[in-house]
Symmetry: C2
Subunit: 195 residues, 2 copies
């Protein structure tokens, strides 16, 4: 399984689809998900995308998109965001899985990563960061988890948690890209290796 974990400031309430940037950069979040899960004419297989919403009013919430189960998702930001909105709405009524392949739970960034360390071991988890080791020289397996931050990055406390758990920092080069571009490039590097 290829997995992505995005630390975001996305809001934890329903939001307006006509103004995604003011919902804690839900545009960025939707773009990242779309880039991670889609290929031309199809969804990728075996990809999980987790976004941790740390915005108001009741953070954290973690929303997961799982490509092997997803239905009726289109690559445009508005469509992807609408599925997050539905998940948030239904969670307030106690539902953790109201659409195929979309899950939501009251789980923090650290809890999520602890689970992934148990599942895969910390050697298969990578923190995408400009100061990391060049991805081209990093050994990766088909089971890999990639952690990244939104436009404001990952806060110090969470960064220290990553560091304490000996998760390797990996860089995709000297250029600072948009989060969605980082994801496209990581998928490309993995695809090129046949993973």
């Amino acid at each position: 399984m290829r997995e992505f974990i995005l630390f975001s400031r996305g809001v934890t309430r329903e939001f307006k689809l006509n103004d995604l940037p003011n919902a804690g950069r839900m545009d960025l979040i939707a773009r990242c998900i779309s880039t991670a899960i889609f290929l031309s004419f199809s969804l990728r297989k075996n990809v999980k995308f987790h976004v941790v919403l740390n915005g108001p009013p009741s953070p954290p919430l973690t929303v997961t998109f799982y490509t092997n189960e997803l239905k009726n998702v289109s690559p445009d930001e508005r469509n992807v965001a609408s599925h997050i909105n539905i998940a948030i709405k239904n969670f307030s009524m106690g539902k953790k899985n109201s659409e195929p392949g979309v899950y939501i739970d009251k789980k923090s960034f650290e809890e999520l990563i602890k689970g992934k360390i148990k599942e895969y071991g910390n050697k298969n988890i990578f923190y995408l960061h400009k100061d990391g080791e060049d991805i081209k020289s990093v050994e990766m397996k088909i089971d890999s988890v990639f952690i990244l931050g939104d436009n404001k990055g990952i806060p110090k406390k969470e960064e220290e948690f990553i560091s304490r758990n000996k998760i390797k920092k990996v860089s995709i080069g000297g250029v600072e890209y948009l989060a969605s571009q980082v994801i496209a490039i990581v998928n490309y590097e993995m695809d090129r290796r046949g993973l």
Copy 2:
């Protein structure tokens, strides 16, 4: 200058920002532009993005985004699309440049490429296609023009024009990506070469 030329079915009338997919996949177009022109916290320098709109009612129209002049553009699809909408609206009143860095003209895909051949020579123009030569073995210069199609690809007539003009087909690997993902990867390959 790094330039992109997208052959699209985008509409040539004003459209609703709440339904970009039904405006000839204006979501795809906006996502391609955003991916091509933005870095984290800034616009790239020296990038021109041309989208040829071949949708109804009065094709073709070519809209160009030039990063050295652009202002007030955000990476979300809705914002990028709003600038295309403004360009279309103002063109109907005879204006070809109503916002800084955004140009529009009644120019076809073939006319646009003829101009680029004159400007750069056909050796610096590349057609991004799955059956092309692997980008990793293709020599490229800082002045490079990349041609790609939307979800429906480039029609036979235009493909024959490309072939007649001896424009090289270049591939980014065995996976068929979304057009916006292709652009992220091409920028990455160029960046990695320091171009």
